[in-house]
Symmetry: C2
Subunit: 320 residues, 2 copies
């Protein structure tokens, strides 16, 4: 049966979760997810549940020591996930935003690195003032982000390690299961391929006294398979493939599409990722470019439009 996971994957997954440090705040996360799903399943439009997307964003870390001083990180500003979240909200989706702590937030992607010190000053009469240059984007960041959270259409859940990321992703997928094909998984996070299993990890800081450091990292189990086949088998699944070598990019995207039975793989190359991406599905390869004429136009706008179009077709087909 093609829908079944191989035994080895199953065992690797079980052992990954069993050996992971326990996730903190599980009850709170489950509660906020339940409230989010109840709200968005009941506020139906035309008798159909609202559409929901889980956007993952930023890089996961891999601790090298239990009392963590050193870790391996995956470069990701979180810009793709944050900007995509904005466009999903605009077209009426509700969003669970699973993001790496400290990375880019929705509606904040055009702000300077340190908005507080770079955009504000204190006037002579001791009022805090935003400078004229940044006033509009700062206002927009605060109002739209706050409004989305207050209206209950944006749920933000932070992670740091690969363990937290996969543990929370599992909680989300279980919560969204009742939404069936109305849910999208838009997996833009840069997830570690390799990790140090918790039980084989150093407790203390690795000492540097003698010679080079040899490390053996294990492969992270292929969680995309588990998410796709077991955690959320009815949802619309989109994964990302980032490469620095454009010659292998499309082949790798095709492979991911088939291997994990994704509905869509978004292929992007590190150096051009803000200009264009290639959307790979079973039937097509579509290059999506940002509108280079409009100032501040982002590639995420046409990308989300395309995703929404294909998702609608998917829902319609399953409804028929």
């Amino acid at each position: 049966d093609a829908d079944q996971l191989p035994e080895t994957t199953k065992n690797e997954v079980i052992s990954f979760f069993e050996s992971a440090p326990p996730l903190k705040g599980v009850a709170e996360i489950e509660k906020s997810l339940k409230e989010f799903v109840d709200r968005n399943a009941s506020s139906s439009v035309n008798g159909r549940a609202n559409r929901v997307v889980c956007v993952t964003s930023g890089g996961t870390t891999v601790p090298l020591e239990k009392l963590c001083v050193r870790y391996i990180d995956n470069f990701s500003s979180g810009h793709r996930g944050a900007a995509s979240t904005e466009y999903f909200l605009k077209v009426g989706y509700s969003v669970v935003f699973l993001y790496r702590r400290g990375t880019c937030q929705p509606f904040c992607s055009s702000l300077p690195d340190d908005p507080l010190l770079d955009c504000f000053s204190v006037s002579n009469d001791s009022n805090i003032e935003v400078d004229a240059l940044h006033a509009e984007i700062v206002k927009r960041a605060i109002t739209e982000n706050r409004a989305a959270v207050a209206e209950g259409i944006l749920l933000k859940l932070p992670f740091t390690t690969i363990f937290e990321y996969l543990q929370i992703l599992q909680l989300i997928s279980v919560s969204l299961r009742d939404l069936g094909p109305s849910a999208i998984f838009f997996l833009a996070a840069a997830v570690s391929d390799f990790y140090v299993p918790w039980e084989s990890m150093n407790l203390h800081k690795i000492q540097s006294a003698s010679g080079p450091l040899d490390m053996r990292l294990a492969q992270v189990p292929k969680m995309l398979s588990v998410l796709r086949n077991e955690w959320a088998p009815m949802a619309f699944h989109i994964s990302f493939k980032l490469e620095t070598d454009k010659h292998i990019l499309l082949a790798k995207a095709d492979m991911a599409l088939k291997k994990y039975k994704m509905h869509m793989v978004i292929a992007n190359e590190l150096s051009t990722r803000k200009e264009e991406v290639i959307v790979v599905t079973e039937h097509e390869k579509v290059t999506v470019r940002r509108d280079s004429i409009r100032a501040g136009a982002e590639v995420e706008r046409p990308l989300v439009e395309l995703v929404v179009d294909r998702h609608s077709a998917y829902v319609k087909k399953l409804d028929a």
Copy 2:
């Protein structure tokens, strides 16, 4: 001659810098350093040059690929360096703040993680307002940070990789050399012990198709020796030793003091580092604790007081 570096260290250092990717913006960094030193050497008090401290802060990264997707990072919020910078400025030192991009900034250490979204709202008449709870710390952060930069007593220089960190540290030490014993190096950054030499690094993203990943990391040359003996031989040198295992902490601190001829090593344990540190010098071991009675008191206040006291004695002894 005890002041000489061993040939092997010298060669390792030369090869580290020769193989490192070229630092961007060297001319600008040199210009800002020259202006900083000119200003602070000329604005002398009692005929003596102003005292200057180079505070390093935050962790360095080690890229695992040239087109960097993955890297090893050292955990550090930058709180120690940022808070210490505030206290050095308060007692009249000028500060070169060499910090990891995105880490804690001076006068901002008691702000929430995301000050813009957590402290501000937009009023009905479309003004941006800070909430009452955070108004004072936000005002203080903006005014004091801006004032210090504007007065030319705080120069902020950001880094990300181990290569950038050591390249900029070298530029700073050369610039501060004329200040002789008036300069302190307060090396609070969490610097990588291991790295992948640039020439042996993968160009492209490491592929995860087959099995576990074996990595061999080389030791970073002992730059503390080079800084102490060659780059800034007259300055007052303070390094930090962070361990997770308290049983080896003091022995490691003593070893660093002797091996690198530091004037002071500040020993701290990961779990108690915000409560207390142990200042280790040739003649003493002093435990410095934060004032647990005063709300918001930080251990960096008494720590900087002690450093300034010992630095004054050092300057006086060399002047005599």
